[in-house]
Symmetry: C2
Subunit: 232 residues, 2 copies
DNA sequence: TGGGAAAAAGGACATATGTCCTTTTTTTTC
DNA sequence: GAAAAAAAAGGACATATGTCCTTTTTCCCA
């Protein structure tokens, strides 16, 4: 992740985000701009953070690694995502690894500035309160989903939540298969098993494989399998 | 859950909690006191809350139920626990069921009062920010634990976190088995399977069964199985 | 104190998922 | 365009866990 010393760009990006509603101009001057490549790591489990990060452009993935070597993808985040909110509030060390999955633009702000100027600033407090609440919401959602449904159902949920935001195209919709290994991680299963599940769904004509892509043939059936659950 | 019209008791309870640091005297007068029996339900999935609840005495369990009829115990909470914080912030409906497991005393405060008087009150915002952060912290912790470790390891973690707070008695420690069914739920597994795991641990002389109680014989081994993880 | 009810434990078998490899397909490179 | 490399798919078998019952133990009360 390398710093961009382009105040004009920084200014333009920030003005185009909700940040000016929260922070004053002086604080905006304390911000620094970084550009991250795909694969760059923003922070890793165990780190002690000193800045809050605002992802203004790009995409990140958040995963956790465990002593047994396994990892679990927790979620993807699009702008405006915040990293370091929980760490700022609880003073604890980083629990999950954050990795950029696209070229991204990030703005950082020292915890020190927040402590000195925003500890008692309602708009800021409300802002991170909303963000953390949302994280909690999605987290408990996926927890119970992951634990109580077999992969087939979870995969159906995943398909729905991935597709529902897309253009509501007609009966058949596509999903790039390019990242099936990642999907497997997100679902907390092995690629092998996900593959097996997909194969079964193909056999049942619910979806169809087509050179690196999946085509949904029976959205009804997918909804049924997801039974109202959805990753958010 | 029945209301207690005992202002003296209410006052005494509240004074003995952190609430006076956050709310002024007028607000304290808006609070109502309830007594809940074991088994009473505070709120259920799908409810629309209008009050925030502060559990001042007793114990609650929080679990979620899913369309397939299964349920998953998310955590237990001791005082001072708060229910309705996320719902207050995000305006969403209740996602988890909250049930009292002991005789408990609860104080309620209308969201309306909070909206009108505390929306911009930093101590209040900070307070629930801390509470929600902590929930998120424990939630993501148990998520990954649940998903990536088999029951044997999770049970070891559970034992450690249950016992570590107890009196550090000598080599052998006890756990009431009275609620093994609940432990199974908490771990997201079936009672049958938990039983099987316990049996194996007994066979390996790690723990011992003794008329409705478990005795830990080899704490070292338990720690090893838990491999540093702990339910918080 | 002796049933009988309730709780706990366990047997048998089915399903979900993981691991390790091999085969097939796709992509890349020269 | 063919060979090599990389990615995807799949086979075989082992393990983890679930479901449904039966057996055993514990507890309670007449």
């Amino acid at each position: 992740m390398k710093e961009l010393h382009d105040r004009t760009l920084l200014h333009a990006l920030v003005q185009n985000s909700p940040l000016p509603d929260i922070f004053d101009d002086i604080t905006l001057h304390e911000m620094r701009l970084y550009q991250a490549e795909k694969g760059d790591i923003l922070c890793s489990k165990g780190d002690q953070l000193h800045h809050m990060y605002f992802i203004l452009k790009g995409k990140i993935k958040i995963f956790t690694t465990l002593p047994n070597g396994k990892s679990l993808l927790l979620r993807f985040n699009n702008p405006l995502a915040i990293i370091g909110d929980v760490e700022y509030v609880t003073q604890c060390e980083v629990r999950n690894t954050v990795e950029f999955v696209h070229l991204s633009l990030v703005v950082s702000l020292p915890f020190k500035v927040l402590q000195e100027n925003y500890q008692n600033h309602p708009p800021f407090l409300q802002f991170i309160l909303h963000k953390i609440s949302h994280k909690l919401h999605t987290s408990s959602n996926s927890t119970s989903l992951n634990l109580l449904y077999p992969v087939e159902n979870r995969f159906a949920s995943y398909l729905l939540s991935t597709l529902s935001s897309d253009t509501g195209s007609t009966a058949s919709e596509e999903l790039k298969t390019a990242k099936l290994t990642e999907v497997a991680e997100l679902l907390g299963t092995s690629y092998r098993h996900l593959n097996r599940v997909i194969r079964n769904l193909c056999a049942a004509s619910v979806i169809e494989r087509k050179k690196g892509a999946l085509i949904i043939k029976d959205r009804e059936k997918i909804s049924e399998l997801a039974s109202g659950n959805i990753y958010e």
